[in-house]
Amino acid sequence: SAVISQKPSRDICQRGTSLTIQCQVDSQVTMMFWYRQQPGQSLTLIATANQGSEATYESGFVIDKFPISRPNLTFSTLTVSNMSPEDSSIYLCSSLWGTEAFFGQGTRLTVV
């Protein structure tokens, strides 16, 4: 199995600022996935990140707002840029290990 360490676990940020969320996997994984879970909602896939290439963004999400880095096979970051209160959500990363999907513990972001 794989373990994903995600940080920070929570943060309160001022509007207009940016927050970078980090995910560290204890194994090398090909793809990592970033999600947003708004209150009372399902998880929405933001983008898929492969090492060595640009992330692939889902409809409604753009790189300028959610830049992603994937410098190696065990690490990825998601930045939430120029935040507004509407960005208040839980953000999660995920990866696949064999047939299993593993998730970070999530980052609870509140924008004030």
Binding site: S42, L45, S94, T99, E100, A101, Q105, G106
Partner: protein, 105 residues
């Protein structure tokens, strides 16, 4: 458009009753996951279904996969209050909208 559609979105059951949650997907990936999430908690993996006809059971929950119909089901047998939670199906790493299950005495 790649979709994972779940229904019903809300399900209120009496204890002891049976019910089925349906998950239709449109991608070509036939790997299907079911997760449970309690309010304010992390996702809990329930089942991984990998091939057509796969059936897995754990306690009162049974999941199946029909890749030809692109349909997975999560069947609840003799529901108990502890099963109250939100259940998600996931295909191609995309989540369905979730089924909020409430089991009443």
């Amino acid at each position: 458009e790649l979709k994972v559609e779940q229904n019903p979105l809300f399900l209120s059951m009496q204890e002891g009753k049976n019910y089925t949650i349906y998950c239709n997907y449109s991608t070509t990936s036939d790997r299907l996951y079911w997760y449970r999430q309690d309010p304010g908690k992390s996702l809990e993996s329930l089942f991984v279904l990998l091939s057509n006809g796969a059936v897995k059971q754990e306690g009162r929950l049974m999941a199946s996969l029909d890749t030809k119909a692109r349909l997975s089901t999560l069947h609840i047998t003799a529901a108990v209050h502890d099963l109250s939670a939100t259940y998600f199906c996931v295909n191609d790493m995309r989540f369905g909208a979730g089924t909020r299950l409430t089991v009443k005495p």
